[in-house]
């Protein structure tokens, strides 16, 4: 069931999970957008889904798998070329805090 309303705190929570810094003003604005979007999706609730199995995929296919075969890995120089920061072996990121 889709909640018809979302609080400003919900928006702040989702922003934090997505590592997005938002000003008070932006939060207010986003809150409005969220409500409008959810209201729109709430219209789906009008559809009669009695007896319809929930689906996880729009295509009616299953078991699309591959054989356990090794393929050629990517060239490391190419891979690291797009990184903002690298040392020829690894990607470099700002030091990670001990807390995961």
């Amino acid at each position: 069931m889709i909640p018809v309303s979302v609080t400003r705190d919900d928006v702040a929570h989702v922003a934090r999970l997505a590592r997005l810094a938002m000003s008070e003003q932006e939060l207010d604005q986003m809150h409005g957008y969220f409500e409008a979007i959810l209201e729109h999706f709430a219209k789906l609730a009008a559809v009669d889904t009695e007896g319809v199995e929930p689906t996880s995929h729009p295509l009616a296919r299953a078991n699309v798998t591959r054989e356990d075969c090794v393929t050629e890995p990517m060239d490391r120089t190419k891979l690291l070329a797009n990184a903002p920061l690298a040392d020829g072996e690894c990607f470099l990121v700002p030091q990670i805090m001990e807390d995961e």
Partner: protein
């Protein structure tokens, strides 16, 4: 107040596939950083994952070995969080519909076998590795591990002590190795364990808040950390202190510390992975996969007790791995004395394998060779002491024991007429020992036996020497 610890174990086991979970990158451990990566496991735009069929089959095989129900339909889900070792900003895992559910592992406890329920076994991908402590204020990221296939095996909180946790882990490791789905190596991280611990009041409602422990890289660390937490929780419960739900980190110095509290825990916002189709497993597929199931360690153990009349202890040692059990059966089948084979395998053989770091599969000793050695001892051709030397040569060279005995002139003297002159000489040389023996000091015989063994370079049959000496001195 009587208290009771409740522990559940979450185990991650890396599957022994040749390629990763959703791409064809190789899975070998220890490759140079970022050399086993591709557009899919590094989440380049537009790259799409395709599940590894072998990983699915191995998970189903594991489910069967753990007596689980195999789900006729299961789906992959996205677990969303942000961390530098995660290329896509989500991990593909399973959430609401895992592949396997409701199984159990049988462990041995002091009060007999105990059934530890397994809640679920699901399939997911591993993350990359952060290499901390590089130069400057940067962390280095290696994505070789990113996308490796992992099974997550979650137990119910049926474990009640650190010893039980260790027994459960050892049993799980044995089973996973036995069916060939995981190498079970905790140091390399191919098997990882996160216990969840709390302590409750028996017959009451008091309990401490659930704690998850991380950073455990050995059975020993798991045992110590669980013991530490049980004590900490029990004290808090008895003192009526309030506790918080949190994740704690095990430190090498022998204690745990708060890593993060559950209030700030991630909200993973799971949803079905739109890039992947569901898995549908029908009876025929389960039957086909189940046909690969070897006779399990518990069954083999029972059979060894019955068929070879081994003790429960010996049978447990002989089933420490599938290879070990197969070696034992091959040797015991060729020898008349299975118990002697078991003794050699857990004695000198195990010691030499251990000392030289040789895996059983690479040992030069064959089951037939060990059976021959056991027969030579039984026939009296060599003494038990000589056999030890012969076995060491077999271990070094792989030669047949009879050949070694011949080459080194080690055969045992079991011929009475050959021993008599030596015995005569020993009696003549040691009048004092003879006197002592005859006056009732039976221990004096040792000096005589010693000289005889020395004279024959250890080749005299000691039982025969004893018999002949006692006979002669009694005259």
């Amino acid at each position: 107040m009587t208290t009771q610890p409740l522990i559940g174990l979450e185990v991650h086991a890396q599957l022994l596939t040749a390629s990763k979970m959703f791409c064809g990158c190789p899975t070998e451990f220890g490759a140079p950083p970022n050399t086993q990566v591709c557009p899919i496991c590094t989440a380049q735009p537009g790259a799409l994952p395709v599940p590894n069929q072998r990983a699915v089959e191995m998970t189903i095989l594991t489910g069967l070995a753990l007596h689980c129900d195999i789900a006729p339909r299961s789906v992959f889900a996205r677990k969303n969080y942000f961390y530098p070792d995660l290329t896509k900003n989500y991990q593909i895992s399973q959430y609401e519909q895992p592949l396997c559910e409701n199984g159990y592992v049988l462990i041995d406890t002091e009060s007999g076998p105990k059934r530890i329920r397994v809640r679920r076994v699901h399939l997911e991908e591993d993350t990359g590795k952060n290499i901390h402590g590089g130069a400057g204020a940067a962390s280095r990221i290696d994505f070789n591990r990113c996308g490796l296939p992992l099974m997550e095996i979650v137990s119910e909180p049926d474990l009640t002590s650190a010893d039980e946790c260790r027994a459960y882990l050892q049993k799980l490791q044995l089973i996973l190795r036995w069916i060939g789905v995981c190498n079970g190596n905790m140091e390399e991280g191919s098997m990882r364990c996160e216990p969840t611990v709390n302590v409750i009041e028996v017959g009451g409602s008091a309990k401490t808040a659930l704690v998850e422990i991380k950073n455990l890289a050995s059975f020993r660390a798991v045992h110590q950390a669980v013991d530490y937490e049980i004590l900490r929780h029990t004290r808090a419960l008895l003192a009526g202190e309030s506790t918080t739900r949190e994740t704690r980190r095990w430190l090498a110095e022998g204690r745990t510390e708060t890593m993060r509290s559950k209030e700030e825990a991630h909200d993973y916002r799971y949803f079905p992975e739109p890039d992947l189709m569901p898995l549908e497993v029908d009876e025929a597929m389960v039957t086909r996969i189940g046909a690969d199931m070897p006779e399990g360690p518990d069954e083999v153990r029972e059979r060894l007790i019955e068929q070879y009349e081994l003790s429960s202890y010996d049978a447990t040692v002989m089933t420490q791995s599938r290879e070990f059990a197969a070696f034992f059966e091959a040797a015991a089948g060729a020898a008349e004395d299975p118990k002697a084979v078991a003794n050699w395998m857990q004695g000198d053989f195990a010691r030499l394998l251990n000392e030289t770091g040789t895996p059983l599969a690479e040992s030069k000793v064959s089951p037939a060779g060990l059976a021959d050695l056991v027969r030579l001892i039984a026939d009296g051709a060599i003494s038990g002491k000589m056999a030890k030397t012969v076995f060491e040569r077999m271990f070094e060279t792989g030669k047949a024991p009879a050949l070694i005995v011949d080459e080194e002139g080690m055969s045992q003297i079991s011929d009475t007429s050959a021993l008599e002159p030596v015995i005569d000489k020993a009696i003549a040389d040691n009048p004092e020992a003879v006197e002592n023996y005859r006056s009732g000091k039976k221990k004096a015989l040792g000096a005589l036996v010693g000289q005889i063994m020395k004279e024959t370079k250890g080749q005299a049959n000691p039982a025969l020497v004893n018999e002949l000496l006692v006979q002669r001195l009694g005259e």
